[in-house]
């Protein structure tokens, strides 16, 4: 009898195994399922209509107005920065127009105590986090005082090495956790950045240590000239979270409310000890990659530009707020005036910064200068005094 029972059990096991094996081998189904799970969250459509009331974040009228104010201000900052660069009064600049919802609304979901690890395009977020504008300008001009960030501001210098901010964020967030803080670390990269090893390592470490981190990918469809479909076979970038065992959300990055809702939730999870989140924001940069010679007409079509300009975050949010009686022409003009005025002041302040000397650079090389550097410091000081 016994052998018979064993036989049946074994057969059953085999059947189950072969069934399971078939499901496991159905790789197309697997990819389809993953793709279906990553649908774009949108709350406001291009017309400024609420299409997803369920997901509507809890924001007061004043907060809604403040998001609009900051987006308008940031658009002006972009225009002025571009103009100043062309006049030779600003250095390196990576345009931001088109990405205001992704940048401003994600930042708006943070608290002052949260830590930001930006990329080179994320100047608006750190300015709204408190970095004096003139310092952002100094950084653009290539002056060491640009990123000598004032105490009390939880800001890191804009990362140039794509992906490096992702691994460092895991460390910052682990530090926050070990220090028992109730803040988060947030970092930004682009679609291209998700190809770097550092991207995977960063989200994986963050998941493994379950740290309070938020990883934002601003997918503006291009890494300089390289379209996102050259970066990866994955249909979304949000699904890259799956392998790290952390949540991934794709949002309409031209919709400030969707961006805000996703980041707000990620922040709440993070401070509740539930770990990191990856958020992909679908957006577009209207301008060139940077102002150092990039010509988007070499790799993008006019049609694509127009298609995305129709999705403009300012246009749809303006419509939405006007519909609620929360915004008007006069308010907009006031913000524009204020922005222009403050930018002018900041440039003046940047102009007043002392000229950079080699001895300054030597003296910031390390906390204590070794004998070799000390010797060089003296040599340069001597030269500079002539």
């Amino acid at each position: 009898m016994l052998p018979g029972i064993i036989k049946i059990v074994i057969e059953r096991k085999r059947q189950m195994a072969s069934k399971a094996k078939n499901a496991q081998l159905d790789v197309n189904k697997q990819l389809e399922t993953i793709d279906q799970q990553f649908q774009t969250l949108q709350i406001l459509n291009e017309e400024g209509e609420v299409v997803n009331a369920d997901a509507m974040p809890d924001l007061t009228d004043e907060q809604l107005q403040e998001i609009m104010r900051r987006m308008v201000y940031t658009r002006i900052l972009d225009q002025r920065s571009t103009a100043l660069n062309r006049q030779g009064r600003l250095g390196f600049y990576a345009p931001t127009a088109g990405q205001e919802a992704s940048q401003i609304a994600s930042h708006f979901a943070l608290e002052k105590e949260d830590w930001i690890l930006p990329g080179y395009r994320d100047i608006p977020q750190i300015v709204w986090h408190g970095l004096p504008l003139y310092q952002a300008f100094l950084w653009s001009r290539g002056h060491y005082q640009g990123m000598n960030i004032p105490d009390g501001l939880n800001i890191y210098p804009p990362q140039i090495i794509i992906g490096a901010q992702y691994v460092q964020t895991a460390g910052v967030a682990l530090g926050i956790k070990k220090n028992g803080g109730n803040t988060v670390a947030i970092t930004y990269t682009g679609d291209g950045g998700t190809s770097q090893g550092d991207f995977y390592e960063g989200i994986n470490f963050a998941g493994a240590y379950k740290v309070p981190a938020i990883f934002i990918v601003q997918n503006n469809r291009y890494a300089i000239s390289t379209p996102v479909d050259v970066q990866t076979a994955a249909r979304t970038l949000a699904q890259k979270a799956v392998a790290a065992g952390i949540p991934g959300i794709q949002v309409d990055g031209m919709d400030p409310l969707a961006v805000y809702a996703a980041v707000k939730q990620a922040r709440e999870r993070a401070v509740a000890g539930e770990g990191p989140t990856l958020i992909e924001a679908l957006t577009y940069r209207y301008g060139p990659h940077t102002l150092s010679g990039d010509d988007p007409t070499r790799y993008r079509t006019k049609e694509e530009d127009t298609e995305w300009e129709r999705k403009d975050p300012l246009v749809r949010f303006r419509k939405y707020l006007e519909g609620k009686g929360l915004w008007n022409q006069e308010m907009e003009e006031q913000v524009i005036e204020q922005a222009k005025e403050e930018i002018k002041e900041a440039i003046k302040q940047a102009d007043a910064a002392p000229k950079q000397k080699v001895s300054d650079l030597i003296s910031i090389m390390s906390k204590n200068l070794d004998a070799n550097l000390q010797e060089q410091l003296e040599i340069y000081k001597e030269k500079e005094s002539k």
């Binding site: 250095g91 002056h143 650079l361 090389m365």
Partner: protein, 325 residues
Amino acid sequence: MAQMTMIQAITDAMRVELKRDEKVLIFGEDVGKNGGVFRATEGLQAEFGEDRVFDTPLAESGIGGLAIGLATQGFRPIPEIQFFGFVYEVMDSIAGQMARYHFRTGGKFDMPIVVRSPFGGGVATPEMHADSLEGLMAQTPGLKVVIPSTPYDAKGLLISAIRDNDPVIFLEHMKLYRSFRQEVPEGEYTIELGKADVKREGKDISIITYGAMVHESLKAAEELEKEGYSAEVIDLRTVHPLDIETIVKSVEKTNRAIVVQEAQRQAGIAANVIAEINERAILSLEAPVLRVTAPDTVYPFAQAEPVWLPNYKDVIDTAKKVLTF
């Protein structure tokens, strides 16, 4: 013959080799349709197709690994690292892997790879793009490190590098890309790797240099001439392996030398050149061999570049110290 800038000569060298050998492949960030951020691969994808010239995902270590894998499969990859300041992302592929494959396999695998990359400074890039990291490369056994200073040399050296069966790091000084034109022959010609070029003959002092500093040194030599000093200027062209024969011969003639590099002072090529001179020609020297270099800081913020980078005046000052020792 055509008048070409250095970057045109580099493109031309790649065109010649793409045409000559179907195993030659070019890839990197934005090298396809966009022709690279400096336009070094301009028109090559259109001419040779996406199978031969293609964009990669944004990952330098991926680019390095791809090159190694393709090399083992019989291809001759020319990966581009967009700026040499990003080389740290691909250091394992370069210094840890491709430099050692031949050795690790008892000579079985060749690594006919040319890693091309813009380097050096003086063009106000954002932070962390510009730098002179040739010293890192030169310290790695298994790599050749080539640095052209003229359009003519760039083309001939690049063709040689592509035909070489060992990995070559080919560093293109950003400031020289478009700074002047020169007659460059059409079609193929090669310049042997590892051979220096005596740019200017002289009898009082040898100025040994490479890259953008060749031009500062030539300018300095002209000024020195006005003061009655005859300076010989040697362009190393390959910083590893060094053309020791040419260096020693020159020093034995002039009995005095300085080494000029744009890189920081610590470690580096200049120190190595001086060590070789000391070991091989100390009895010919009538003065210590001095260096002209940048100070030992991180590559500076753009605004400070003009005062940080060495220039012809520094070359003159240092040369005079040695001449009047």
